[in-house]
Amino acid sequence: MRDYPQDKLLELYRTMYTIRRFEETVSEMAAGGLIPGFMIHLYVGQEAVATGVCAALRQDDFIVSTHRGHGHLIAKGGRIDLMMAELMGKEAGYCRGRGGSMHITSFELGSLGANGIVGAGLAIAPGAALSAKLRGTDQVTACFFGDGASNQGTFHEGLNLAATWCLPVVFVCENNGYGFSTPRSCHQSVSSIAERASAYDIPGETIDGDDVLAVLEATERSVERARKGDGPSLVEATTHRWHGHFEDDDDDYRSEEEKEACTESCPICRFEEACVERGNDASALERVREEVEAEVEKARAFAEECPEPKPEDDASMIFAGGDA
């Protein structure tokens, strides 16, 4: 068992707990009609994946996110007040209210975009990695996608391109067992998605995606490989989606027992136990929780109060060179 400094463990805990409480707050707000739209895909249950992956990255590394992207951005350093403002469609949001939940991103933090098209990022990530190579930097790109996206052509094309050109990409499959309502047994024939790495002659491993340290350590191995020029790899993190595909999803395609079982593998509870086992004081965790609660409340208040965007400002965002 690797030793971690206590503050490192608390930092991971803080990130996971922030994601959890942010998402639960968004869920409440959505139910109360405070978030526009119905396509709000929450990350509850999957917190360990984004947290572990981003903890293995440098600040100048890139991530490519998905429609279920709030957790990725928080883990990459996103400010939850600006994120909450974006979810509410406000001008102060990261995307000035033009993107919303599915496109929430901060380029400054190296997030190349959440994406409303399943699998699209699998083609974009190799380009960011190629760019790093051509610019002579050692930046790595981590590409998040789900089990559903692993059936898109872009999965195969992206892995092939990255493998053929030996690009510094870490492909992170968040296997939560469902593509929307379709269980994995009905959408793919392979027992493990990581096996597909062999088709491109790159390493692939399946890990417990609800164990943040397992995610961190697997990602570190892949990042090191990528950074020293040995090319891409595929990490399949098995995890659980606690909410429906999106917030308005009835989620009646899963039995109550099955949904209940998801929560048994709670990545946060498991990590709390691990922290205590590793000598952390339970009161330190309690302090983190209190601080996070306050921060989430502040973010919500900020978002509710800040102004709406103006339609006349849209034109300046279509083209970099102004309105054509």
């Binding site: 380029f107 975009g113 974009i124 380009g127 391109l161």
Partner: protein
């Protein structure tokens, strides 16, 4: 000796494309090329170009349009200026998501956080029995997608100048070259700073009787139609669109205000084509100037056939342009 601002050289359209690419590769280290078999280069513009610049900046890709156009988006978002080639414009359908949902929207949906300086070169148009999947002119599809710029060089000088502007532009630009024009020749400015701005049409032939708004390969057909009509005393003003987005409305509308008649000519098919948009624009903004209903000349609304006889019947021509102009004047 370095070329002066006025030096020109007689060269083919594909050589002009090559010159633009080479100059921009030399000028800007963030420019690089990707595409299928571009080092071999079926039409010539990029043949062996990797021997003249750093080879890693002229990349042969697998046959994987989604991946390399997606990768171009990723590279453009992170500081590079990729120029990708779609070997035949028809193949662009394979990577529509990367163009329409990613390249075109990345800037807007992030609230203007990023630029996407990406160029997609794609040769389209009719050429010697290339049949239904290698002959299309698909530019009208992309006019419907805010966030993309579209240009179509019709001369060797524009092949150089428009492409250079596209590469220097901070937005995604589709450059539809024309297969049949690759081997046409004319004088091309050698000045490495020679560019043709996006959004500026060219009047290729002046006339007072009718405005012929032509796109890409149809510009030369429109000019030859104009010359033939002149023998009967009909003076056509031929406008080379050059760019569709941004569109040079001023040149178009001032010409129609002068002539009072409009014929549009394109190689794409009629329904929902470029001409439909141009006619809509002119009728709403210059209605009072029109002496007769505008006429659209386009390819037939059908897949493009293989047989040379059928292909010719499907495509617009100098003859069909002349007929359209006469129908305007007779009407």
């Amino acid at each position: 000796m370095a070329p002066t601002a006025t030096d020109t050289e007689f060269m083919t359209y594909f050589q002009a494309v090559r010159l633009a690419l080479k100059e921009e590769l030399e000028r800007d280290p963030t420019v690089f090329l990707m595409g299928e078999d571009i080092r071999f280069s079926i039409f010539g513009p990029t043949k062996d170009l990797h021997l003249e610049v750093e080879p890693e900046r002229v990349l042969d890709t697998p046959i994987t349009e989604s991946a390399f156009v997606g990768a171009a988006v990723g590279a453009a978002l992170t500081g590079m200026r990729p120029v990708v080639e779609i070997m035949f414009a028809d193949f662009i359908t394979v990577c529509m998501d990367q163009i329409i949902n990613q390249a075109a929207k990345s800037r807007f949906m992030t609230g203007g956080q990023v630029k996407v300086p990406l160029v997609i070169r794609a040769p389209g148009g009719f050429m010697s029995s290339s049949a239904a999947q290698h002959s299309q002119s698909l530019e009208a599809l992309f006019m419907h997608v805010p966030g993309l710029k579209i240009c179509l060089p019709a001369t060797p000088a524009d092949a150089k100048g428009l492409l250079k502007s596209a590469i220097r532009d901070d937005d995604p630009v589709l450059v539809f070259e024309h297969k049949a024009l690759y081997f046409s020749s004319d004088e091309v400015p050698l000045d490495p700073e020679f560019t043709v701005p996006l959004g500026k049409a060219a009047v290729r032939r002046e006339g007072d009787d009718v405005t012929v708004f032509a796109v890409s390969g149809m510009v030369s057909s429109a000019v030859s139609a104009g010359d033939a009509l002149a023998r009967d005393g009909i003076e056509a003003e031929v406008i080379d669109a050059r760019s569709l987005i941004p569109l040079d409305k001023d040149t178009l509308l001032s010409s129609v205000r002068k002539t009072g008649r409009l014929v549009t000519v394109e190689e794409g098919c009629l329904t929902g084509g470029v001409g439909a948009e141009i006619v809509a624009l002119v009728t709403s903004e210059a209605w009072d100037s029109l002496k007769c209903p505008p006429v659209r000349v386009a390819a037939k609304d059908q897949p493009i056939p293989f047989s040379p006889v059928l292909e010719a019947a499907c495509a617009p021509s100098s003859r069909s342009i002349q007929d359209a102009v006469r129908s305007c004047l007779d009407g």
